[in-house]
Symmetry: C2
């Protein structure tokens, strides 16, 4: 894509109330736009990042045998009354009345999912059920100061599973945990699986996936050797205490929660009457699991972690483009750049070409650093016709290469 045609250029100023690094950099880079506190549009650059994250999550969810669906966002009060969450979760839910009927906006989908199971599943042979969707969540957060880390409206992948036994739920629960670690690994994050409290969702302990980060809202106590990690909310051990396996003292650190998984067991299915007939012909309640990853939050986490004073540094797998092409305005170099652009695009490499006229090389370089595509290519008289100068966003080394060499490297 030609940068001159891209909607959402780099910005010098960001709204004054944006204090988080992720919102500042995403707004300055032209990835998002702020509609109101806690609510953002994804501009083409941000949309591309989220779509790449989405595809990675989709592949890993499909890998667990889950099927993709889409559930509605507007829910009748009656269904939330079945579990009592119309009242117990009313702080976080957007609830309203229209033509004498009361509705809530989706802040999660357990009730809707259980209603599907109730209507479509008959016998034990129809289990397990594994369904997920990518959809919008609305949460009436008191404060919305963390950019896309905690929006009032945001994108989430939520997976739900229903099983005939606790044992089967447990088995799938840890399969999903593994698939989550794969997701985080693929997007470039080192996540720690942490025991935690269930918040408004459940009284049982749950697992969160936390990424160490100074700006995180959570705090965890963990063993550097990886055999213990709990959210401070429930932590039994203390910072500095020795790990029983000899990995040294436990550490305490701020972290961002990038995913969470819950075992609800039969709590909600009992309330909603979601049952099946077992092999002996007996009616039993369904065991429910629930598993979330916030897509927009994941994007924000990546920005919080991967940046420097000049801008964002995207991991390759979620970068909006593969390479950022800049030509320096000597006469003739635009033609050279166009050749490079077309050659790379034809080979399936996504190129953001800064083709703007009347913009200095310095400004183009600064914008490239702010946007943060992992590879920058420069075409100039100095570099010479047919060549490109290659620089990684996270390094300083300059290398001379050719489009053909680059294509080979990208394919390998």
């Amino acid at each position: 894509m030609r940068y001159s045609q891209l909607f959402g250029k780099t910005q010098r100023q960001v709204p004054k109330d944006e204090v988080s690094k992720n919102a500042q950099l995403l707004l300055r880079g032209g990835f998002i736009d702020k509609l109101m506190a806690g609510s953002y549009s994804l501009l083409p650059l941000g949309f591309r990042v989220v779509k790449k994250i989405e595809q990675i999550v989709r592949e890993e969810m499909n890998g667990t045998g889950a099927q993709e669906i889409l559930m509605p966002l507007l829910h009748p009060k009656s269904i939330w009354n079945e579990t009592g969450r119309w009242d117990s979760a009313k702080e976080v839910m957007y609830q309203f009345k229209k033509r004498d009927k009361e509705f809530a906006l989706s802040f999660t989908h357990e009730e809707i999912l259980l209603d599907l199971v109730r209507k479509h599943i008959r016998t034990h042979r129809d289990f397990p059920v594994k369904l997920y969707h990518f959809s919008t969540k609305f949460r009436n957060e008191l404060r919305a100061k963390s950019g896309v880390l905690r929006g009032r409206e945001f994108l989430m992948k939520d997976l739900y599973s229903a099983h005939t036994t606790q044992k089967d739920l447990d088995k799938y629960y840890f399969e999903v945990a593994d698939s989550y670690m794969k997701v985080f690994d693929r997007v470039g994050l080192k996540a720690i699986q942490v025991e935690a409290a269930g918040g408004v969702f459940t009284k049982e302990h749950t697992h969160e996936f936390q990424v160490l980060c100074e700006s995180g809202e959570d705090e965890i106590i963990y063993c550097p050797g990886g055999d213990y990690a709990q959210n401070v909310e429930i932590a039994e051990a203390k910072e500095g205490q020795q790990c029983v396996l000899g990995h040294g003292p436990l550490l305490k650190a701020k972290a961002i929660e990038v995913g969470n998984i819950f075992r609800f067991g039969i709590v909600y299915s009992e309330k909603m009457g979601v049952s099946f007939t077992d092999e002996a012909g007996k009616k039993k309640f369904v065991y429910l699991g629930s598993y979330g990853i916030g897509l927009t939050r994941l994007m924000g986490t990546l920005v919080e972690l991967f940046n420097d004073e000049r801008g964002i540094i995207w991991p390759k797998t979620v970068s909006p483009f593969d390479v950022h092409l800049v030509h320096i305005e000597d006469s003739g170099t635009e033609v050279w750049a166009k050749e490079v652009y077309e050659k790379l695009e034809k080979a399936g490499i996504d190129v953001l070409w800064d083709d703007r006229e009347d913009v200095s090389a310095g400004e183009k370089f600064a914008d490239a650093d702010l946007i943060g595509i992992p590879v920058r290519l420069v075409v100039s008289k100095k570099v010479g016709e047919g060549n490109v100068e290659v620089k990684k966003r996270d390094g300083d080394q300059l290398e001379i290469s050719t489009p053909d060499k680059l294509i080979k490297e990208f394919k390998s």
Copy 2:
């Protein structure tokens, strides 16, 4: 996919208040589930159909040079007040108050889009702007009796364009009209481009894309030769009147609106102060176009048009699977079917394999007809090892073929 594992099997009964053919067949086929009046979940089969429609629409939108984004669904009252639509469209909008702030749910996105243009575009060189998204729309319809043809919550592709002149808007407007015709053609619909009134959207005439259908809510007067078509709401000519180009008498027919396009001109941009600096340094208002296709409505239209007494007949391009494989329960045929299944899947052909045990051949055939995948394959002792019996959903002819032949046909 094995049908035994698919969530959302065929249903014998549908909710009593479902009078529309599209809802009845989609519910019975296991494509959708009804949450409440006018609101449906997409189950895996329905989700697949909508995703195929979405991808066709995306390709055609990208073909016009448009860029994909995602705008929020929850909007502040203030932005709707700028155009006066908070009041003028209040019947159709879901509006509510939360913590002393008023919000509306997205029923369209012109205001949000113009706000983006206002913030991100500076000079005439940044035009035209062409942005689209796939997102959820909420419309507080009085009646919701038409299944997915008129939901209270539904999926829509909306494209918006902003231009520096009426002429440039006109040019792109008709480019989009052409791309819409391509979309409808690709999903298997014969659409007629019809002049119409703008409803709550604009006082100007607009264009609708109508598909002739007895169950449609619209009525159009049109020339069978294709040179005149108007919605009866604004029609100047009468049924039976001779077409001036000699194509015979004008016809009147019921139709379903599958798309619409609007030229708002500067009406809203003037109200919202969305301007740019022209070449002479003068401030001018932006010309806005708006273009919609309802994805779920498109699915419903296909079902209304393509069905028989046994079920749905999907066009190839949007069918949830390429082939429906059934094996007849003689001993051994399951192994043969598995071989066919794996061979076709490996070749990139999407197979729905009805692998259920204890279900009669007759029931399997009835389900295959209800679900409506265009090609049915049967494996049985009679057909013989290594062979498949092929039947098109819209025909009666049975043919004997082999997986290899089928793969060749699919690839050609």
